[in-house]
């Protein structure tokens, strides 16, 4: 039998039994759609997290006080139980470091902001002029913190968009004096609204000079030191130099933790990538189930069409012809199912993106290709057994089953 005839014969056979064809196509399409949608979710989560991390700033190196538990037990750690604080001078010492473009110390605390009788609690970030560019924040009005000696902070503040709205409403905020804790500060800038992200919500943030914040909270420690490296390649070298510099300043003790955004990003990327893969694997099980269903349907087809198979044999069909016809039918069921499933999956992912615009739910190419080829492969593999059974039927017995 010619290939086109085989395909036509299989197509007619499939459409001749609409119910069972629809059901097996449906099963296969649900499997493929599951792979597409679930991997779109997984990969969307990965992209979302990576995107959020990137928005923290580029080429970021972050210094935390205290040592994270690498390197095992150290007797020195046992004696000096409390780590040495990070100070403004520690941060200052990093400014001259090769490879570091910008350095910003960060002290945080909560306080109250008071203007015109309105009072609300706010998060206060004490930092320097370079904080805003390092974190990729943008100003809606006014300007950022002034360039000045880190140890003498002028009485100014940059406020978040939500605070501006709540405290000032329609009135201009720039130039107004507000009370933050026990200080009177002049508002010199307003941040652009960014919405909820990883880390801080800048909409409810008040940024003040770092020394002012320390005085306000009566402490001289820093929460973080943020360093922006010159380039991505400069990150590892700069990280080592930061470590070395602070270690020297802390009398040879490694009592800080230096993390790079890159490392965090890579970890999350790997973690969520693995998650996507796992989800795809689970979805692939439904494909295997669909494959078994196709086999079941084809076995039923062989039983249903036993008389026809006997006739084909009597008319001179070889075993190969019959095998191919049934295999083509199974392949067709899975191919159509895979295609329908792919479209359903893309539709599902599209719907997800419509409802959650911030969530980039695009199925990765590898998942789509793997899903479609698994569907076709299972359809074919599970089609082999029924096709062989059909080809092996005894023509005399088969003809009697008409």
């Amino acid at each position: 039998m010619r290939l086109t005839d085989t395909l036509r014969f299989a197509r007619d056979a499939a459409t001749g039994y609409p119910m069972r064809t629809t059901l097996s196509v449906l099963a296969m399409s649900i499997g493929v759609a599951a792979v597409v949608i679930l991997t779109a979710l997984g990969d969307g989560a990965r992209r979302y997290v990576v995107g959020q991390f990137s928005s923290l700033g580029t080429n970021l190196i972050i210094v935390l006080p205290g040592r994270s538990g690498t390197g095992g037990f150290n007797p020195a750690n046992a004696i000096t139980s409390t780590p040495r604080d990070l100070t403004i001078d520690d941060a200052g010492s990093l400014r001259r470091l090769p490879g570091a473009r910008r350095v910003a110390p960060l002290a945080v605390g909560t306080s109250e902001i008071n203007y015109g009788g309105k009072l609300r609690e706010v998060m206060v970030a004490g930092s320097t002029a370079e904080f805003i560019p390092i974190r990729n924040f943008e100003l809606a009005q006014g300007q950022g913190l002034p360039e000045e000696d880190w140890n003498r902070g002028s009485s100014v503040a940059v406020i978040g968009a939500k605070i501006r709205e709540e405290m000032f409403g329609a009135n201009p905020a720039i130039g107004q004096l507000v009370r933050v804790g026990d200080r009177r500060l002049r508002v010199i800038g307003v941040l652009k609204s960014t919405g909820q992200g990883l880390g801080m919500n800048t909409d409810e943030l008040v940024i003040v000079p770092v020394s002012l914040a320390q005085a306000m909270f009566n402490s001289n420690t820093l929460f973080r030191i943020m360093i922006e490296a010159n380039s991505r390649d400069a990150i590892p070298g700069t990280k080592d130099r930061v470590m070395e510099t602070i270690k020297q300043r802390h009398r040879g003790e490694e009592d800080i933790t230096v993390i790079t955004q890159d490392a965090v990003l890579a970890t999350f990327d790997k973690l969520l990538g693995a998650l996507t893969l796992a989800v795809a694997g689970i979805a692939a099980i439904s494909l295997a189930v669909a494959g078994i269903l196709v086999m079941n349907v084809m076995l039923v087809a062989v039983t249903q069409r036993t008389g026809e198979i006997g006739l084909l044999k009597a008319l001179g069909a070889t075993a190969r012809t019959i095998r191919l016809a049934f295999l083509a039918e199974a392949a067709m069921l899975s191919a159509v199912g895979a295609l329908v499933g792919y479209l359903l999956g893309q539709l599902g992912a599209f719907t997800l993106r419509q409802f959650f615009p911030v969530f980039p739910a695009y199925p990765p190419d590898w998942a789509v290709i793997a899903g479609l080829s698994t569907a076709l492969a299972t359809g074919l593999i599970f089609g082999v057994m029924p096709a062989r059974r059909a080809a092996r039927l005894d023509p005399v017995q088969a003809l009697m089953k008409h």
Binding site: M1, T15, L311, L315, A319
Partner: protein, 237 residues
């Protein structure tokens, strides 16, 4: 050379733990162009003989020579090719594929044999005309009368221009009148030189054949043509 030459054919079936001899010690020669009716009670081995002649079944013992070629030793695929090119089947229950049109059913043996579409269409058009089915080409079997269905089946059996047509109770599902038509069609084919073997219960139909074989318990009980052949042997001997 005889078209069909059966010698020492034996076909056994195992039913439970008893062996049934469907055919035993069968020797038979059918010349090309003969018109043979196979008769006998149910279970006498008529259908088994027909299946055997049609290469749908193999004998346990004995040889079957078709056109001088021993076909019992052929592989299943080689037998399929012989069926495709040399043998046409007509069944009692027509055995049309329900989802295919009359034209497609007639073309099915050519489709299976891989004959190009243009050639198929040509031959199907001719066959539809020959069998008075031109108006029914696109009808599905369930839209055809019994007589029309059997005509489609006969057109299908002849489309590959076989040397041998095997008909199993071809009029069994038809009324007297349409049955008569179908028999006339088959006899017309025989008139053109096709060897015709018909299995039938119908004495009247059997009587129309030039040679009658009567089967009983898997053996040939009577052969109206055998006398002639033995006579011939005596004369030549």
């Amino acid at each position: 050379m005889a078209l069909i030459e059966l010698s020492g054919i034996e076909r056994r079936f195992l039913l439970g733990d008893t062996t049934v001899h469907a055919l035993a010690g069968l020797n038979l020669q059918i010349e090309a162009g003969e018109y043979v009716a196979v008769m006998g009670p149910s279970g006498s081995g008529k259908s088994t003989l027909l299946n055997l002649l049609g290469l749908l079944d193999r004998p346990n013992v004995g040889t079957y020579k078709l056109e001088g070629r021993d076909v019992t030793t052929l592989s299943p695929d080689e037998q399929a090719t012989v069926r495709s090119t040399r043998i046409g089947f007509v069944f009692q229950s027509f055995h049309l594929v329900p989802r295919l049109t009359a034209a497609e059913n007639i073309a099915l043996p050519m489709t299976l044999a891989g004959i190009p579409l243009a050639e198929r269409n040509l031959r199907v058009t001719q066959a539809l005309k020959d069998f008075g089915l031109d108006q029914r080409a696109d009808h599905k079997p369930d839209q055809l009368s019994g007589g029309q269905r059997q005509r489609v089946a006969i057109a299908r059996a002849t489309i590959m221009q076989p040397a041998l047509i095997l008909a199993d109770e071809p009029t069994g599902n038809l009324d007297r009148h349409t049955g008569e038509e179908v028999v006339n069609l088959l006899e017309a084919l025989n008139g053109k030189g096709v060897t015709l073997v018909v299995v039938t219960h119908d004495q009247a139909m059997g009587a129309r054949a030039r040679r009658q074989l009567v089967m009983e318990d898997g053996r040939l009980k009577a052969d109206s043509g055998a006398a002639d052949i033995s006579n011939l042997a005596e004369i030549s001997g």
